[in-house]
Every structure is written in C-alpha cells, then in structure tokens.
C-alpha cells in the first residue's frame, strides 16, 4: 500500500455540494486533505448583459439561505453606480432585513445542521444524528431552533413580501416603506425570540466543556480575521469599513473602504475545487490565510454595541481569550450574534422615523463601476460590478464568505483529519468530525440544504493506482 486516499462524498448537512479527500502516506498517516466544492453556478457570467437594476434580485438567486445578503451587497454596488445616497430609513430597513436573515441562517446552521453533532455526540448513530433526533431528545432545543428560524423568516416576509427571494431591496433603497402594523407584529415577537436565543446560549455554555477535544482540533490555528466595523469599533453588518486583525490582535488593516478590496485581497483558483480561495495580499499566498464570519466578526470588533450581547461577548472572551482561534467557536460566536441581531432589530424598529415613506432614491446611470459589501451570515460578502453607459452589466466579480474561508477550511480539515484518522482504520465518528469541522464555517455552497442528513456518505480508500482498498458507507 503506497498511497491512500479517503473520500468523503457528499459532505452532508452543509448548504451545497462538496466532498472531502484525505490523502494517507505510506505509514498510514494523514498526508494531506482537501475540501472540494464540486458544484458550479456561474452567476458572474449569467448576469452579463442584464440591466443593472435587476441585479439585486438576480443575485439573490445565488442562494436560498442568504438571498438577503446578496441583495444588500448587490444593491449597495448598484447605489454607487447610480451615484445616490440612500435615504436613512431605507438604509435602516435594509439593515433590519439583513439582521433578520443572519438570525434565521444562524438558527439553521446551529440547530438544524450542527446541533445533532453537539447534542447527540459525534459518534452517535448517523441515522438518528439529525434534527429529528434532536427533537426526540430535547424537544425544547429543537423548538427554539424552529422558532428562531421562523422569527427571522417572518421579518423577511413582512418587510419584503415573501420569505425567500423578496424583491424588496432595490438600487437606491427599498421598494416599499414599512407599515405600522408590520412593525408592531415584528416587535411583538421579539421577547419570545430573545428568550429562546438566551436559553440556547445558556445550554451551549453549560455544555461547552464537553467539547474540549473538538475545540482543540477543529481548525485551531492562528490566522487573520476580517470583518466590517463601524467607526469606533462596533461590529457592523450592512455598513461599515473592513478591518483585518491577526491572532494576537495586531491590526493589519483598518478603515479599509470596501472599494479598495482588490488592494488587500487576492484570489486564486485551485484545480481541485470550483471555489476560489482568497488571501490577504500583503502577506501573499498562502500565508495570507484569513477567516470571516461570526468568529472573525467577534475578533475584529471591539464590542457589539448592545448591552446583553456585549455582556455575553465579555464572558466569551473571558472563557476563550480575546482572539479565540479555534473554528469550533464559530458556534458560540453564532449564538451571541443571534442575541445581538435580535436586540438591534428591536432598537431600529423602535425608532419613530422607521415608518418614514422616503426609502428610495432614484437616478440614472452615473458611474460605470460599483462595489457593495455586507456581512452575510457566513462573513464578508463583496459584489463588484462594471456597467456600460446604458446600465448593462459588463463584468461582475463576487467574493463570497465561503471563498474567504476556503484556505482556512482546508487547513481545518487537514488538522482534524490528522488528529482523528490513523491509517485505514476509519470509524464513522471520525469521518463525521472531519465533516463537522466544515459545518463550523457553515459554508454556503448553493441554494439548498440537506438538513435531515439522509444523504449517503461514502468513503473510499484507494491506493496510488486508484484501486479500491476499502469502502465505508452509511
């Protein structure tokens, strides 16, 4: 046996299609590991020749989980092309929509996709290791997950007219102001959502000690972190400027206008994946590895900006240090963000001017290029467009959160595989841990999720000639 490869295909309980290969050396130790994204969407090409005004809704179709983030980033790029200033209420309504989406997407990631591993155990029976299994064992936790997801989805529906792909965010603002009755309905649901978010966070904190081994080997390495922050250092989700810090807190870049992203971020393509990898240009490839998303946002921000969430953040930092470096803590960070997002939604919707009917600025094409950025649930999302004088899209570049995290995900897979896999004695629970490290990042690879975990998982162990030595399947 000269050379072995373990293939995990498909990776389950993530949003999209991917596989993992683990390369073993002659001694049966893990030599290398890759996370392959095997699907191709092509939106950068599809949108060429379309009117720029269609872009927010067209781009929303990239994903059924985080359409709102794409809409917001896209609309901001379009705002620049129109050369308009969005009315303040329009900005705030977009913000509420984006926060609602972060709540529902985080709920999906934590409760539906990851809680089966955390609650039932990484070594539990895969047939039961899903949301249904969670509901059997702890109905309250499953209910909280469903309720928090519904809370976010209903805000999106009330603001945008429908839960998935609302065509409400438009270049220049939003297409319709908020009605008092809609605002009141959302505000009425906040106390319940807040209670459930805190209850989940308490449950997680109580159990966090039991995952110490996972926390130490699920992508625990120093890297850079990138996220949006407001002036003063509060975490930003729809606006703000980019900040990059390293694991010791050294600020590598701050106050970066997203328009200048190309100066800081390089993109590279690997032959084994359809997902581009990005790196922090000043450090080069692959040293410029960085992470985005909940873990990174809490690392780059001084504070969140709402009192309950900041108290949780202080406890988080006390437990894990100021700059936690294990990707396992994405889960913890995600739960704190849910608390924060609910409070900010409350804060914004309680403003008297939120019903202002001036929510949209209109203009013709005034610039040929625009960059828009937002914090998607999974991290920084950049849309960059070039249009002709008539407003037809000529060129599009999308830098998605999962792309920012690609290098880190690969390194995490390698670290986890090295720790848990020895030779061809592969147990299901070990493979599940390799998948679970990917789930920490909540990668968003397409529009769909296989949440209930019914998909087959096949692991092939092959020698250098490609002949099958051993197969493990669910």
């Amino acid at each position: 046996m000269a050379d072995n490869t373990i293939v995990i295909e498909p990776v389950t309980r993530i949003e999209g299609h991917a596989k993992i290969t683990i390369q073993l050396d002659e001694a049966g130790e893990v030599a290398d590991a890759h996370f392959h994204v095997t699907q191709f969407r092509g939106f950068e090409r599809i949108s060429q020749g379309r009117m720029v005004h269609e872009m927010p809704s067209l781009m929303a179709r990239i994903c059924g989980i985080c359409p709102v983030s794409h809409m917001v980033a896209s609309a901001k790029a379009c705002d620049e092309i129109l050369g308009v200033t969005v009315p303040p209420t329009g900005v705030r309504l977009r913000r509420v929509l984006n926060l609602a989406q972060i709540v529902q997407s985080h709920a999906l990631s934590f409760f539906y996709l990851s809680s089966p591993d955390l609650l039932l155990g990484f070594d539990s029976d895969p047939a039961l290791r899903n949301l249904v299994g969670v509901a059997r064992q702890t109905p309250d936790l499953a209910r909280d997950g469903v309720a928090l997801r519904r809370f976010g989805q209903r805000i999106i529906e009330r603001l945008g007219g429908k839960r998935i792909h609302p065509a409400w965010v438009v270049p220049g603002g939003v297409s319709r102001p908020l009605e008092a009755s809609e605002r009141d309905s959302i505000l009425a649901e906040i106390p319940d959502a807040r209670m459930r978010a805190h209850r989940t966070l308490e449950w997680f904190k109580k159990n966090v000690a039991s995952w110490t081994e996972e926390a130490a080997h699920f992508g625990d390495f120093p890297s850079l972190y990138m996220g949006l922050v407001h002036e003063g250092g509060n975490a930003a989700y729809s606006d703000g400027l980019l900040r990059v810090v390293d694991s010791s807190g050294w600020v590598m870049a701050d106050g970066v206008d997203p328009r200048a992203y190309e100066e800081y971020l390089g993109e590279t393509v690997e032959p084994w994946s359809y997902l581009k990898s990005t790196y922090f240009k000043p450090l080069g490839y692959p040293a410029g590895i960085y992470r985005v998303g909940p873990l990174a946002r809490l690392n780059v921000a001084e504070r969140l900006g709402t009192s309950a969430a900041d108290a949780e953040l202080a406890e988080y930092r006390e437990r894990l240090g100021r700059y936690p470096s294990s990707s396992f803590h994405y889960h913890y960070a995600r739960l704190i963000e849910i608390v924060h997002c609910i409070d900010v939604i409350d804060e914004i919707l309680s403003r008297p001017d939120i019903l202002d009917p001036h929510v949209r600025a209109r203009a013709q094409i005034n610039r040929n290029e625009g960059v828009g950025v937002s914090e998607a649930p999974r991290g920084v999302l950049i849309h960059h467009y070039k249009v002709d004088d008539d407003g037809l899209v000529e060129w599009v570049n999308l830098v998605i959160a999962t792309g920012h995290n690609n290098l880190a995900m690969n390194r995490s897979v390698l670290q986890t595989a090295r720790h848990y896999i020895k030779g061809d004695q592969v147990k299901e629970g070990m493979l599940n841990r390799v998948e679970a490290v990917i789930r920490c990042y909540d990668p968003c690879l397409s529009c769909s999720t296989h949440a209930v975990g019914q998909m087959p998982l096949e692991v092939d162990i092959r020698d250098a000639e490609g002949s099958l030595l051993r197969q493990v399947s669910r």
Partner: protein, 235 residues
C-alpha cells in the same frame, strides 16, 4: 349592416356583418384567451391562442381575425383546443429566455398569466436558449429580446396610434426580431417620439421603463381604448 346569428359554446348569439368571433364572444361574456390582441389595435392573428373550432371545418380558426357567418357553430373550449393552447404557450416560453423569477414583469405579465390559465406546469419541448440582447440605448426605455413573444402590439400601437412606425419586425422564424427604424439602436432612432405607448402595451417584460427592478414593471394596458377616437379602429 345586417345582423347575423350563430352559436358559440352552444349559446345563441348575434353580431353584425364584419364582426369577428372574438368580438361577438366577448360581447356575450364568453372568454377566449388572447395574447397579441389588444382592444384599440388592429388584429393580426400572430399568437394563435384564440383558435376556435367551427362545425363542419377541420382546421382551427383564430377568433380575432375570423368574421362571423350566419348559422356558424363555434366551439371555444375542447380538449383539442386546450392542448393546442398549452403547446402554443410552451412554444412561446421555450423560444426565448423567460425567467419569471428575475424578470421585471414578474406577476405583471400576460404570458405568465396564460401559463397558469392553460395549465402549463413544465416544458416538454427543449429550450432554445438563444443568445438575445438587451437594447438599453434609449434614455428612458429598454427592450429585452429575451422576453419578447413577437406579439407585435408595440409595432401596431406605434404605427396606428402614435403614427411613428418606429417598430417593425426583421428576420423570419426563430430569427425574427423587433427592430427600431431600419435596425439601428433604439437610442439612435429618428422616428421614436419617446411616447412610451409600446412599453405600456407590452404583455411581457420585453419593453420596460429603465430604473424598474424585478417585479416592478407597471404596464397600463387598459388605458388604450381612451386614446382611440372610435371603435372603428378595431377590425
């Protein structure tokens, strides 16, 4: 002008010489689906959605351009007609790139409504997926050839009501395309008065006001009869 009597869907109805089956059916509250027809414009029988059966005749007749005869027996709804209409709508969809979910005319589109009305739930025919362009050179309006069904309402409204005849059709079959003037960009047209009537009568998202986002198209099609001086415009 003499009165003729006939039956449509088994009902005894009457109309004047020269009136069309569609006209008489609508006067009597009998619905017939149409697409290229628009009250106030001449009829050309372009879309064939209004086909009906006439007793004693094997072929189908487009109700919008077939005049009534004494004693005619017309069937509007039958399995054969329903199958034809569904296939016609399917052909319209598959010939160009109609992607409702990201179309400015979503939920304000006669083609979309027709698909629902005729029960078109999926395509059996292959999509042609042509490379079609958007002409956005006009200051206020644009044409997206991906969404055009060649109903020629724009051609007729421009010619018959506005009197500009900016629009016409060039090419044949699947190559047929709407053109402005003699095939120059819309923004360069000398004849276009920028009145916007073509945009208002377009049944789909092909003709649009710039600045509209997805599902924001607002066609005001019924306004047309008020512009028409007299009913005689309708053949």
């Amino acid at each position: 002008m003499s009165v003729l009597t006939l039956t449509i869907e088994g009902r005894d109805v009457a109309g004047q010489t020269g009136h069309t089956i569609l006209q008489v059916a609508r006067e009597n509250g009998i619905p017939i689906p149409t697409l290229c027809h628009l009250q106030g414009l001449s009829d050309v029988g372009a879309c064939r959605l209004c086909v009906v059966e006439v007793e004693g005749q094997r072929k189908l007749f487009p109700a919008c351009v077939t005049t009534i005869d004494e004693g005619m027996k017309v069937t509007v709804n039958s399995e054969r007609l329903a199958a034809h209409r569904r296939r016609i709508v399917e052909l319209l969809f598959t010939e160009r790139n109609h992607i409702c979910s990201v179309c400015i005319a979503d939920r304000n589109c006669e083609l979309q409504d027709l698909a629902v009305a005729v029960g078109l739930t999926h395509f059996e025919l292959p999509l042609l997926s042509p490379q079609a362009v958007v002409d956005a050179t006009h200051e206020r309006f644009g044409i997206d050839h991906n969404r055009c069904v060649l109903c020629t309402r724009c051609v007729r409204v421009c010619d018959e009501i506005e009197g500009a005849h900016t629009w016409d059709v060039m090419g044949r079959g699947t190559e047929a395309r709407l053109i402005t003037d003699l095939g120059i960009p819309w923004g360069d047209s000398n004849t276009c008065t920028s009145c916007g009537k073509c945009v208002q009568v377009c049944p789909t998202g092909a003709l649009f006001e710039k600045g509209r986002s997805v599902a924001e198209a607002r066609h005001r099609r019924p306004y047309l009869p008020y512009l028409v001086a007299h009913e005689g415009r309708t053949r």
